[in-house]
């Protein structure tokens, strides 16, 4: 299967800020999750692929065409933008019909009705978009994107604000569209969300590609990241001595009664700690893993620290 989207040596900067840095990647038909913390460059990458922004360096081809040079490509490519912005005064139906007319679709009213049914928005279709919930707005945006029956669909955080039922419906819709042979690029900053949408994940951080592969590979890479755990014990020195001999423990620091443990295998530590404490007759008052942001996990994938 050939790539429907090719990104070659792509960089995009705004003044001194580099949003996307030297990204080279191809996307095939099916659903690909674009994962990364806020500010990772996902939105910029999608906008450049969509032709809304021109690359500062490198090139993008969608179905073999530069989207900034051939406007006809917009018959085959659609974007669901991240912003909640939408025409609040229009009804859902008028919004989708407008998208159909601008996309030069045959029988726009009929087509609008079809896609409103697809996203489950028929009942609310004649209400003003301004009164829609965030999840309903997302579905209206998805309907407007689907109206031209695109081969390539770019979705920027499409599950934001959707309730669990809507979320499940949208995920099922995305999977179905991917199975039909369309190319879907779905961005999110939540791994579990991407995991449900797609088997293939592209992780980004600081504008660069952090990892590319299936969800299991990404998850394994994240699990390998050293974690820090704080432990309050009544005899921290003896506990430290017992822990330091373990292979997964990378370092131990003692601060009064608190142990700061760094481990490459948090699971093994969680199992070993109670046993060691019991065998050494040491009381444990508190075991607290340090909460680490998704950003730090991604940074580990990129920089190995």
């Amino acid at each position: 299967m050939t790539d429907t989207i090719t990104v070659t040596d792509l960089s995009k900067w705004f003044g001194l800020k580099v949003a996307v840095s030297e990204v080279t990647i191809g996307f095939k038909p099916g659903v690909t999750g674009l994962l990364g913390p806020n500010g990772a460059g996902k939105t910029t990458l999608l906008r450049v692929i969509a032709g809304l922004q021109r690359p500062s360096q490198g090139e993008v081809r969608v179905l073999g065409v530069d989207p900034r040079r051939d406007n006809d490509i917009y018959r085959k490519i659609s974007l669901v933008p991240e912003d909640e912005s939408i025409y609040d005064r229009l009804s859902g139906r008028r919004f989708v019909q407008l998208a159909a007319r601008l996309a030069k679709v045959d029988r726009p009213e009929e087509r609008a009705q079809q896609v409103l049914e697809t996203v489950g928005l028929v009942d609310a279709a004649d209400r003003a978009l301004g009164g829609f919930s965030k999840g309903m707005k997302q579905r209206a945006k998805v309907a407007a994107a689907l109206v031209s029956d695109p081969e390539v669909l770019l979705l920027d955080e499409p599950l934001n604000g959707a309730d669990p039922v809507q979320r499940a419906q949208l995920i099922s819709l995305f999977r179905r569209l991917g199975d039909d042979g369309r190319t879907l690029l779905v961005s999110s900053h939540v791994l579990t969300e991407v995991e449900r949408v797609s088997d293939r994940v592209v992780a980004m951080v600081d504008g660069r590609l952090a990892a590319v592969g299936d969800v299991a590979t990404i998850r394994a890479a994240m699990t390998d990241k050293p974690r820090r755990v704080y432990v309050d014990a009544d005899d921290p020195r003896r506990l430290a001595a017992a822990l330091i001999a373990r292979s997964g423990v990378l370092g131990v620091q003692i601060d009064r009664e608190t142990l700061h443990i760094e481990t490459s295998d948090a699971g093994d530590l969680a199992r070993a700690l109670p046993r060691l404490a019991r065998e050494s007759n040491i009381g444990l008052a508190k075991v607290e893993p340090v909460d680490e942001s998704l950003e730090s996990v991604f940074r580990y994938l990129v920089e190995g620290r």
Binding site: R47, A50, G51, L52, Q53, R54, R68, N71, D72, I73, Y74, R75, I77, S78, L79, P81, D83, S85, I86, Y87, L98, A99, R101, L102, A103, K104, A144
Partner: protein, 242 residues
């Protein structure tokens, strides 16, 4: 025409339209107040003087309206819904300027009708105010051709446009002949002057070195529209949409 209709409906918000028609009607109000005490034979000159000088309020109304045509879409994040469509950028530019011009003309029509009513109220009749429609139409189209691209291309376009009207059109164009020749207000005023020969002193002074004449004024306006359309087409093709 779907895009032009959509853009027109979006910028013509009720509150904005009412406020801008009121702004465009300021010359009518001033003429109505001044015309009551003026001798009847001076009314035609007074009318043209007030329209030519106070009429800048319409230029400001047109600025507010037309810069919003694409700027509203970009600022509110809805531009992708119209940008990512199989529409040639030249067509998109044309429809955007067309929508801006239609909106400016709607407001201008309101301002012109107010001047007609004011003229009737002070007993001037219709001969002098009727040709003034050419001034409002010409200015509406000319300002749309300049300010729609400005709204898309320039940050703080309202401030820049206001600077153009207040500094270039009302001050510098009075002393620099070259600027007067490309001043949209003076070009439109020259069309009106070609239709209404009884121009007052202030109106004639405002016109300055610009020769009155319908044909020449229209030709200059066409040139302004072509330049504005070409600039917007270039920007839509080559600059970031967001």
């Amino acid at each position: 025409m779907t895009l032009a209709r959509h853009l027109y409906m979006r910028i013509m918000r009720r509150g904005r339209v009412i406020g801008l028609i009121a702004l465009s009607s300021v010359p009518a109000l001033v003429f109505w107040l001044a015309g009551f005490d003026a001798p009847e034979e001076e009314l035609p000159a007074l009318f043209t003087d007030i329209i030519a000088s106070v009429g800048y309020s319409y230029a400001i109304a047109a600025l507010i309206l037309t810069t919003a045509t694409l700027r509203d879409e970009r600022d509110s994040g809805t531009l992708p819904y119209i940008y990512m469509r199989p529409i040639a950028r030249s067509m998109m530019a044309g429809q955007s300027i067309g929508a801006g011009a239609a909106a400016a003309l709607t407001i201008g029509l309101g301002g012109w009708l107010a001047t007609v009513l004011a003229a009737l109220a002070v007993g001037l009749g219709l001969d002098v105010p009727l040709p003034a429609l050419a001034l409002f139409v010409g200015a509406g189209i000319g300002y749309a051709a300049v300010f729609v691209p400005l709204g898309y291309m320039v940050p703080r376009s309202l401030l820049v446009g206001l600077g153009y009207i207040l500094v270039v059109e009302t001050i510098l164009a009075n002393v620099v002949t070259g600027l007067a020749q490309i001043s949209i207000w003076r070009i439109s005023l020259s069309i009106y002057a070609g239709l209404e020969p009884d121009f007052g002193e202030v109106a004639t002074a405002t016109l300055g070195p610009v020769t009155p004449g319908v044909g020449g004024g229209i030709l200059k306006l066409v040139a302004v529209v072509v330049v504005g359309w070409a600039a917007l087409t270039w920007a839509l093709r080559n600059r970031d949409a967001l």
